[in-house]
């Protein structure tokens, strides 16, 4: 190059990270090694480089030793790259003259031999020293942020996030798949440990969502496409036809009475199938929006076109509209809160408990509806065969803590099982047995709740139930379900005949979590819940900037934690929006015009249509505003005329040279 060659003066800093690095890597050896590499002016080791004094060290050295390149060997760039860039900038240097070497996550934490780990650290530091020589001064690009937010999922997490954002004056789109918002919480009777009524605390929030001027609520809708990037997402929402016009329906339910099906005969999803509904229905009295919906799989008119359509006639507002089609809405938002919730474990996957075989085996959600005053039995605990149970067994950990099903503890089952024990006992006077492996009551006032249950005379048997069946050994078991379990406190096997079995099913990701993950370009952990950016320090962020998580889609949690997390996600989204702009990494690609042969092979490679071909010049050109910095065109250019900032060929080659220098 024609520029005057400046003398390269590199500062290398090796972090101990307490013993996290120093315990496995001989940091002194690494610093010594680096000090002997050409161009290295200063090489130091320090206990915690990310601490203030650590950063100060860099700043001072830049001043004192006229350093113009900085290498820090510490942890993952995903964690502290920004920290040290800032420290470099504080020293008066362009932050992109800095490079971070990961000798913790990729080295000290994963190796067991000190010499091997040290040798690897040396090689990686060597690579960085080679690399920074060719670093250039770069600036971050600023892009304005669209102040609207999309909230996906209308359970308590989505509701709370939407209200928080809307109260802060932001435009919110709340998209819910079901005909009503409310999620699982709307189905619950009471909430633990305070036993306050779920509907009483949830329904006011639901109606605020409906009436809030800043919230656009789209139920019976799904996000079908999302494009763009942090601050500027373009989203397509598909609204399913409910065959009832939302703008006209007032929820008077005349149409339901008028339906040609005189009897409600189809299982109501909201009642877990215990209650029945018609093809046209409102899922439950407080449904929001309170607009009827027509089930296309049940409605005679939708299915066959042959129905006298008495519903249409019954509606004096003319709200019923069989011509509705799925409709796509386009919106622009700056941030997205994903709050898609969980799915209850399918109890049929644990066949030893006889769910689906014996009618008196219930899941916990079914019992929530059964004890609910507004449920299908008006809160009366009556079995499927019409009897009232005298003894009830509640089995914890169904589908949880198990290699064959789900390995995790679902976190809420102990507490909701205690709650159900209390409610069932209160509603039916039955003798209740709880079967648990470990009693997990770590939340506020949880242990006190357990104590209360102990005093109420609920039986607690420590042991995982081996099987439930109707095998009879003696007359006392006749007509009962028999629970066979080792009482691990007594150290013997017990047979306990009961009338009703309640399965404390665990929480798991939705069946389509993988598709949702792809849609939003976020990650799932091994168990399938969405992965947060950092388990401690970025619990509501994802690896995609501008997309935040709230509620059980990130992992099982109870209502207080869900609400707290939803608030946090809303706050993160607010922080993003109120900053007004986002800074984009300057890792974009550019074309060196004189070297471009105009072969056009790069043009179709770009998924963002950032590359165009200029006919009169016979050259390709990259629109930097559209480039996302993947470098695919760079890797494919046959004449090497496309470069990528931060990942120039020369920089990668020197890194390769560095890691292999000791061969």
């Amino acid at each position: 190059m024609s520029k005057p060659v400046e003398e390269i003066r590199i500062g290398v800093y090796v972090c101990h990270c307490g013993t996290n690095i120093a315990g496995m890597v001989d940091v002194k050896n690494v610093a010594d090694f680096a000090s002997r590499l050409p161009g290295v002016t200063v090489s130091r080791e320090y206990k915690y480089m990310c601490s203030d004094p650590g950063q100060e060290l860099i700043r001072q050295d830049i001043k004192e030793h006229r350093l113009n390149r900085i290498v820090v060997a510490s942890c993952s760039p995903l964690l502290h790259e920004e920290t040290f860039r800032a420290a470099t900038a504080k020293g008066g240097l362009n932050p992109f003259f800095f490079h971070l070497v990961n000798i913790r996550e990729h080295d000290s934490w994963v190796h067991e031999n000190r010499q091997d780990a040290t040798a690897k650290a040396n090689a990686l530091v060597h690579a960085a020293v080679e690399r920074v020589r060719s670093h250039k001064a770069l600036t971050k690009k600023q892009v304005p942020v669209n102040p609207a937010v999309l909230v996906v999922g209308g359970g308590i997490a989505g509701i709370h996030a939407a209200l928080t954002l809307a109260n802060a004056g932001k435009k919110v789109y709340l998209v819910e798949r079901e005909p009503t918002i409310g999620g699982h919480m709307a189905k619950f009777d009471k909430t633990f440990p305070t036993l306050d009524c779920a509907a009483c605390i949830l329904t006011p929030k639901m109606s605020s969502v409906k009436s809030h001027k800043n919230i656009t609520l789209w139920s019976y809708s799904e996000v079908s496409r999302i494009e763009g990037y942090v601050g500027n997402f373009e989203v397509t929402v598909r609204r399913q036809p409910r065959y009832v016009r939302e703008d006209l329906c007032v929820g008077c339910m005349e149409c339901i009475d008028a339906c040609v099906f005189k009897e409600a005969k189809f299982p109501n999803e909201f009642d877990e199938g215990l209650g029945k509904r018609k093809p046209i229905y409102v899922p439950f009295p407080q449904a929001t929006p309170k607009v009827a919906v027509i089930d296309p799989d049940r409605c005679l008119n939708v299915k066959t076109g042959k129905c006298k359509k008495s519903c249409v006639a019954s509606c004096d507002r003319g709200a019923i509209d069989f011509t509705q089609k799925p409709e796509d809405r386009q919106i622009k938002v700056g941030a997205v809160v994903v709050a898609t919730g969980f799915k209850a474990f399918d109890a049929k996957r644990s066949p030893q408990y006889g769910y689906g075989v014996y009618p008196n085996v219930y899941t916990s959600l079914e019992v929530e509806r059964l004890v609910n005053a507004s449920g299908p039995t008006s809160g009366e605990v009556v079995l499927r065969d019409g009897r009232h149970p005298k003894t009830v067994g509640i089995i914890h950990c169904v589908g949880s803590r198990e290699e064959h099903t789900n390995r995790w503890c679902s976190r809420v089952c102990c507490m909701y099982s205690l709650k159900l024990a209390h409610l069932v006992k209160e509603h039916s006077g039955a003798e209740v047995f709880n079967f648990y492996i470990d009693m997990r009551t770590p939340g506020k006032s949880f242990e006190e709740f357990y104590q209360k249950l102990l005093k109420e005379g609920v039986h607690f048997v420590r042991g995982k139930v081996a099987e439930v069946n109707d095998w009879v050994l003696d007359p006392s078991e006749q007509g009962k379900l028999v629970i066979r379990v080792e009482d691990t406190l007594l150290g013997t096997v017990r047979r306990i005949p009961v009338d009703m079995v309640v399965l404390g099913v665990g929480l798991e990701p939705h069946a389509d979590a993988q598709e949702v993950r792809r849609l939003f370009n976020i990650s799932c952990g091994t168990e399938g819940f969405f992965l947060e950016r950092h388990p401690k320090l970025a619990p509501v962020n994802t690896f995609t900037d501008g997309i935040f998580l709230a509620g059980c889609c990130q992992g099982p949690k109870d209502i207080p934690d869900t609400v707290a997390q939803a608030g946090a996600a809303a706050a993160e989204a607010l922080a993003l929006i109120d900053s007004g702009h986002v800074e984009l990494e300057p890792n974009t690609a550019y074309i060196v015009e004189e070297e471009c042969s105009g072969c056009k092979s790069c043009v179709p490679l770009c998924p963002y249509k950032a590359i165009s071909y200029v006919e009169d010049k016979k050259k390709a050109v990259i629109n930097e505003a559209l480039c996302k910095g993947c470098g695919t065109c760079v890797g494919a250019c046959p004449s090497s005329s496309i470069k990528q900032n931060l990942f120039e060929d020369e920089q990668v080659f020197s890194e390769i040279r560095g890691v292999l220098a000791d061969v």
Binding site: F33, L78, A123, G631, T632
Partner: protein, 176 residues
Amino acid sequence: MAGAMLNLIMENQTSTNGTASGFEPRIVAFFCNWCTYTAADLAGVSRLKYAANVRVVRVMCSGRVDPQFILDAFAKGADGVLIGGCHPGDCHYIEGNYKLLRRVRLLHRMLRDMGIEDDRFRLEWISAAEGEKVKTVINDMVEKVRKLGPLQLPQRFRDGDKELEGEQLKAEAAHV
């Protein structure tokens, strides 16, 4: 410096556990920022243990990996090259990994023709959640390359050059 390095290498060889020859393969890896690099971070956070033979070069997308990088790594003495990208359909940049895949297919054939065994060059899809896979892939690859033995391309180049030089000298001598 060279002394210190040699020392380290010597120590390395005595400390290795596997083979009698004490050969420890050097593997250069190109990991994409979003999936595989993050998975390697996860392996670290989970304190999984794997062989120390792999040196990771971070790229934003596996699509950035230029065939030259791979050839260059072999030329500079790598015994193996590993590329880690997002699973098909999961690419942060929509489909950079597909574009890489096309190059890799071609390159595999080329390398084969050059006498570089298939096991020395590997492409793996590893998502951000698959820390465990980082471990198994690295261990497996190290094991396979260890069995193949050193590639020693730089050495072979030097030998080739020498031979060529010799031939030239001979030719010149004959000419004279």
